[in-house]
């Protein structure tokens, strides 16, 4: 699907800040408000914009810190459906946040979020590794998130410029 430059710009702006108001969006790209809203409807209908969401630093909220694990999964692909079948069986679990088919030493990269390390461990041993096609799993716990989806979690660097300059 080919999009116009302005349509792409709308996506880029919303990808950085999905709360940008339609008025501001229209002003920034230089389109009338009704056309901007038309583009938005189209992008939503086409599922190009899949969802409006926030990046949350849960580690700051007491009792909700949670743990995230990345699990390398080796599987046996099935005739006819390849990896899709087993990927579907995995991504349907609500604990699973992402599933990617990978090139290299393993097949699926699965990202899991849970309340505690125990919870994640239980999911891996009870649900994931017992699936028929799964040959092996390697679990990596994330210790600290420095940058997530293009966002740096440390506080922004302050403006070091002088207040007024020629």
């Amino acid at each position: 699907m080919k999009l116009t430059e302005k349509e792409i710009e709308i996506i880029e702006i919303l990808e950085k800040n999905s709360r940008t108001s339609n008025d501001d969006l229209a002003a920034m790209i230089g389109l009338p408000i009704n056309e901007t809203e038309e583009v938005l409807r189209k992008l939503e209908e086409l599922k190009i914009i899949v969802r409006y969401t926030s990046v949350v630093d849960w580690s700051k909220i007491q009792g909700h810190e949670g743990v995230t694990a990345m699990i390398d999964v080796k599987v046996t692909p099935k005739r006819g459906v390849g990896f899709d079948d087993i990927a579907k069986r995995i991504y349907r679990f609500k604990e699973v946040k992402s599933v990617y088919l990978m090139s290299g030493a393993y097949d699926l990269s699965v990202i899991i979020e849970g309340g505690s390390m125990n919870e994640v461990a239980r999911f891996v041993s009870d649900k994931l590794s017992t699936l028929d096609s799964v040959i092996s799993t390697t679990t990596h716990f994330i210790l600290k998130k420095y940058k997530h989806d293009g966002t740096i979690f440390e506080p922004e660097e302050e403006d070091k410029r002088i207040v007024v300059s020629p």
Binding site: E12, M28, I29, D159, R161, I162, V163, V164
Partner: protein, 390 residues
């Protein structure tokens, strides 16, 4: 004992301090100011560029370079100018790497201006042009780009200012403070006068990368103008490298030779680590420059539409990172408006008149600030306008 005389030269004593200074002093002491008064990018230099400079230090590149700058850098500049703007300069004899575009302007003027020569300075413009003409021994002749034409100078106005002592015309596009971009026809009008009266054009193109609507045309790319143009540019604005102090100047061999003479005695060479950083910026910086350009364009659109909605008429400037709305409808002078706005709403802008007579009635607002800050600034300016209306 003799009475104490002033040791200062007459030239320096006669130069007026910049009108920006007062606003700097006013704004500096205040808490919670949103500054639209900043003449530099809000982006930090791209990491790959900073990293290249760190690497150059680690490898021990801490000595002088050739006077004109690293040959490799001049070659990169030559190929960049050729690709981006269809300009052809010899890296060996027509490009000099300078300490910012500011030094480039200085050596350009000093290499062509004799005592008493006149240089036509198109205003509103960057505050340093006229003082640098004076320091070079020349006489600045300010002419006013008419606001009715979106601050584009006409050949008639230029022609009226030409005398037998006129040596050069100084222009800047995209312009600081108006943001005005001179299109090909506008440049041709200036070129016509330059050719008719055998003048040079000193063309400050430091904002060339930040052009938003159509492509950028350099004065030196206009037919017949390469031989009478001194092209000033650098890395400060487009590449977000103001603090590195790295610019360059391109001119035909004879003029470049003269500029190099001044440069080698007065400066020796531009800082070595900054030159290594610039090399990386040219080799691998294109994507980041484009990202920044797009971000500025969005903010420009936002600011132009916001000012017009607030009832401050504002043309849509083709480049740089300034909007130049008219505040005439408020009945205040530029200085009054800027001062009141700062004291009452804590938004710093620069009064247009500090950039030249024709800037009176306007304010310069830099949008090199995050969109969130711009939104807040617009809100504050809105409430300020409400207040002064009642």
């Amino acid at each position: 004992m003799k009475t104490k005389k002033s040791y200062l030269s007459r030239t320096v004593s006669e130069i007026k301090p910049s009108g920006i200074r007062r606003f700097f002093d006013l704004a500096s002491g205040m808490e919670g100011v949103i500054s639209l008064g900043v003449g530099e990018p809000d982006f930090i230099t791209p990491w790959s560029v900073r990293e290249a400079a760190i690497l150059s230090l680690e490898e021990g590149y801490t000595s002088y370079t050739a006077n004109a700058g690293l040959l490799e850098l001049r070659q990169e500049i030559a190929s960049y100018l050729s690709k981006a703007f269809k300009l052809h300069y010899s890296p060996e004899s027509e490009i000099i790497v300078t300490v910012g575009a500011s030094q480039a302007i200085d050596i350009a003027l000093r290499s062509v201006v004799d005592q008493g020569d006149e240089v036509i300075v198109v205003e509103p413009c960057f505050v340093s042009y006229s003082p640098l003409v004076s320091l070079a021994g020349g006489t600045p002749v300010p002419v006013q780009a008419p606001k009715e034409r979106g601050f584009k100078i006409t050949s008639d106005i230029l022609e009226e200012a030409v005398t037998d002592r006129t040596k050069a015309i100084m222009i800047c596009s995209p312009n600081n403070p108006t943001g005005t971009l001179l299109e090909k026809e506008d440049l041709q009008a200036i070129a016509e006068i330059a050719e008719r009266y055998d003048l040079l054009v000193i063309s400050d193109e430091i904002y060339a990368e930040l052009s938003y609507d159509s492509g950028y045309t350099s004065m030196a790319a206009i037919d017949g103008m390469r031989e009478r143009t001194i092209l000033i540019s650098g890395f400060s604005k487009g590449f977000a490298m103001t603090g590195w102090r790295l610019g360059y100047v391109c001119a035909p061999k004879e003029i470049s030779g003269a500029m190099l003479k001044i440069h080698q005695y007065a400066m020796m060479c531009a800082p070595t680590m900054a030159q290594h950083a610039a090399l990386e910026a040219l080799k691998n910086g294109a994507n980041e420059v484009e990202e920044m350009r797009k971000s500025y364009r969005r903010r420009r659109n936002y600011m132009v539409s916001s000012f017009n909605e607030l009832g401050l008429s504002c043309h849509s400037p083709g480049g740089a990172f300034y909007v130049f709305p008219s505040i005439e409808s408020t009945g205040l002078s530029s200085e009054q408006f800027a001062e009141k706005l700062l004291l009452e709403e804590k938004v710093a802008v620069v009064p247009g008149n500090v950039f030249g007579e024709s800037g009176e009635g306007f304010i310069r607002c830099s949008y090199a600030t995050s969109i969130e800050q711009l939104q807040e600034a617009v809100r504050r300016i809105g409430s300020f306008l409400e207040k002064i209306k009642s």
